[in-house]
Symmetry: C2
Subunit: 180 residues, 2 copies
């Protein structure tokens, strides 16, 4: 952020009085521009003992598999957002959404909220951001070709819970991958 | 939003190619400025059969009672954010946080995530945004003096669940109050 979105002047970074962390603040109109994490909402669409994954057609991680999920939009409920993303990326309709995984990816300021959901039918088709959409049994999950750590972590917990038939909401933190 | 935060030029509102809703887009550098809901995180701090509420010292709803909660900050996990807000507003330490209520307030683009939490001790004190902090039994809850509908809805569900000793995660939608 370089300029004030309200008045167009330059912004500086400093800690406002009564605050405890630096903010972008307009040099002229003094507006404080808070920045906050974004929510990513999506689901694990279930069809009998299989779940639906999408092969990404866009970067990052083009060609890798993921759950249908994306940024929550202004004016949406979390459930409406998860349903919309599943339509957009997998051409699939889901129902009976239940919150399952709540994962904080603090280092990129993203909060993932993944629902379990029942696929309404098998009439799905890849959307613009997907190359392919496919149902996978547990044995078929492409663990080495998943797009994101948060997807792997969510699916690991899901398949651990599934034999019990109980899916308590999972909270977790995804930390920055170590680089050599 | 009037100006591009990247280059300082004017922005216009239109639907980018491949998108399905209007965005703020810079007239010069073409940067698309997405706007997304903010998360509010907080908790229901429990001490034996009582819960901790804060009387607000600031607008909106100064003088009304609320749960300790506030905007999640960049770089935080949802649990760290809820703990921080409870320290800031109630001077209270909480532990063993479990997600409880996930409420979408779509019309103001806020998502509330409220945890149940155990108060570590009764050494609490009002922070800058509170006039008073107090433990309430169910009979003592000031239902007519709660600050926000989302707080009332969360507490109603909480006290309905409590006799069962089971607190499944609640999802809900808060709609705009009707005006006459």
């Amino acid at each position: 952020m370089n300029y004030c979105s309200q008045c167009g002047s330059r912004v500086s970074v400093w800690i406002p009085e009564g605050d405890d962390r630096p903010r972008f603040i307009c040099d002229r109109c003094n507006k404080i521009h808070y920045q906050n994490p974004k929510m990513v909402v999506g689901c694990i669409p279930e069809w009998e003992d299989r779940i639906l994954l999408c092969k990404r057609s866009i970067e990052p991680k083009s060609g890798k598999w993921t759950l249908p999920a994306g940024y929550l939009e202004n004016g949406e409920t979390v459930i409406d957002g998860a349903i919309r993303e599943t339509v957009e990326e997998a051409g699939a309709r889901v129902e009976m959404l239940e919150p399952y995984a709540l994962m904080s990816i603090a280092y990129i300021s993203q909060i993932y909220l993944i629902f379990r959901a029942r696929l309404s039918d098998t009439d799905f088709a890849p959307g613009k951001e997907s190359l392919e959409v496919k149902l996978f049994s547990e044995e078929e999950i492409p663990w080495d070709d998943l797009a994101f750590i948060v997807v792997r972590e969510t699916l690991q917990r899901y398949f651990k819970d599934r034999p019990n038939g109980l899916f308590p909401v999972q909270t977790g933190t995804i930390t920055r991958p170590k680089t050599l």
